[in-house]
Symmetry: C2
Subunit: 347 residues, 2 copies
């Protein structure tokens, strides 16, 4: 008989997240109560933000308590339902757990997936949700890029970064991508259209970035923080805008993150540094829908690519998540937890 | 025969500015050329920003070159003129030098003083110019405070900070002032209306500030940077706004300024940190004029106080400027270089 496997967070990471921080436990598949429904997980999204959720101190969300099921963005199919809004066969995404089955009453962060049927289900995590839409809102709401400006994107080969690079090009910016290998840099230039790409693991990032940005930096979509933010702060132009989407370089430094000593250059350049969380934008339904439309159109027009890297089996999630911090994933990292329902069975 | 005394910057400061960085030299009073006019300095404004101008590296303006006359905001009276826009007797302010006499053609940062005649000339530096207007635009353009929000002001007993405290009250905020002595704190509360005042030299700033801000911090007008910025970043609320007006605590740390390691809290709280320079706002003539009107009205209504501390004699400027970095001045620090013309002689 089927069980519900769940990865519990059993210790706090020191440094990077590791498989040893988790423990797999099995229990009976829960029964949905009144106005609830049961979701069978199809995909579990693995994200740098898991490191923040695993630490003791709250970040933009409360931390996962020790012993609790690890939190994750998932996509699944409704298998049993006592909720008229979420019938059996519906595909939903939401913030649930690293688990085979989840129970929901539709409250919190849950969305029915109603993508353009030409797109595969995995596109949901390549182009939309907390990935593509983070790039979209960070750029459109925080950076306000103007044609011809220089936009730098860090973590540019990552799931969010690679979308940001392409939105930068759609906004007619000169886009400079920062990534961690020559292969990634080549992909960013040759496939995604970045005007220049800098391998931060090779030579001096400050010098390479300076060479790649002869007219300085007007906007910066930052996924990395730390020394990468420092290198960009040295190059910002007057009235530059920096969107802080993440700070993956510092997620392992809970005790004393590295802050750029040249942060005061924001004053010299009348510039701003602003943090944002994509989930906040869901409250603006019109803009949220517009973002989905824009991303869908850009993709169908061939101007917006994405890569998915799938790891099979929930049992492999803790090993797989470490790829994000080692930079060895190539594309949006998903764990395939169970099979997609055939298209004919979907609602 | 009268001479033009000028303070030259002859060495770069290491740490604080000191009198030894300057040398007084005398030369003939210059003659204004075609379309030029001669200004006799009445007041020289001494400002923390002088430390930035004296260093090797450019800040928001180019540095003063070694050997050049030290730059300063001054107020003076036109004594000779070949420029129809600036007749003899006109009172002007601008960015000139630590000197008895300056030559101008009206270009750059030069303004005719046309204050409400009920105000003394020194009010120009107490309420307007780079002082009061820095507080005005930082709060109205960057912070956008809402009634009932908590606003923190650092360097609150300083010239700019004390105006910011009062604008915060006019905007119906709960204002928490950070200053460097119990006397300053008492003045901020009893005279300027701050709801709470924290002496950062006494006990733990983080703990005191936390106690003074039970509902967290929504906006922060920062003149100080460093550990004060760090203490506030720990307390910011969702969508908090921080206006970086200055960073006096770090002006002596040219090599390695102290950046708050909790800068990433901007991400958790979807908050922004933005630098600004008041001089930029002069380009928007309507808003600039509105600022003068508002400040004048608030002052006449008794809602906007200022203090001036005058040091007599240009020869004392280098000694006097050190007060700013020791926090021993009480009010806007001016050097009285020569006598004000009688009101009847002013244009």
């Amino acid at each position: 008989m089927a069980k519900n496997r769940q990865w519990h967070l059993t210790s706090r990471p020191t440094g990077e997240l590791s498989a040893g921080n988790f423990e797999l436990r099995e229990s009976a598949i829960p029964e949905p109560g009144n106005k609830q429904f049961l979701i069978r997980t199809i995909y579990l999204s693995l994200d740098p933000t898991h490191r923040l959720w695993a630490r003791e101190k709250a970040s933009y969300m409360p931390s996962v308590k020790l012993g609790d099921v690890m939190r994750g963005f998932t996509m699944g199919v409704v298998e049993k339902s006592n909720h008229p809004g979420y019938p059996v066969g519906a595909i939903v995404t939401g913030v649930f757990g690293w688990e085979d089955y989840s129970i929901s009453d539709g409250s919190g962060i849950v969305a029915l997936v109603d993508m353009d049927p030409r797109l595969p289900l995995t596109a949901r995590f390549g182009l939309f949700e907390h990935i593509g839409l983070a790039a979209y809102f960070g750029i459109l709401d925080i950076l306000h890029p103007k044609p011809g400006e220089t936009m730098v994107v860090s973590g540019a080969a990552g799931a969010v970064g690679s979308i940001a690079v392409q939105i930068g090009k759609i906004m007619s910016c000169r886009v400079v991508a920062v990534a961690g290998s020559d292969e990634k840099c080549a992909w960013l230039k040759d496939e995604l259209g970045a005007d220049a790409a800098v391998n931060y693991k090779k030579g001096s990032l400050k010098a390479s970035l300076r060479a790649a940005c002869p007219k300085g930096v007007d906007t910066f979509f930052d996924n990395v923080g730390g020394e990468c933010l420092e290198a960009v702060l040295d190059l910002i132009n007057m009235k530059a805008r920096i969107a802080m989407c993440g700070a993956i370089s510092q997620y392992g430094n809970d005790e004393k993150p590295y802050a750029p000593p040249n942060i005061y250059n924001l004053l010299n350049k009348r510039a701003k540094l602003e943090g944002f969380i994509v989930l906040d934008y869901a409250a603006d339904q019109r803009w949220w829908a517009k973002a989905h439309d824009d991303m869908t159109q850009w993709h169908i027009q061939g101007r917006m690519k994405y890569r998915i890297e799938t790891v099979d089996g929930l049992e492999n999630a803790p090993q797989a998540v470490t790829k994000l911090f080692q930079g060895t994933n190539t594309g949006k990292l998903l764990v395939k937890v169970s099979d997609e329902p055939p298209a004919s069975a979907r609602l």
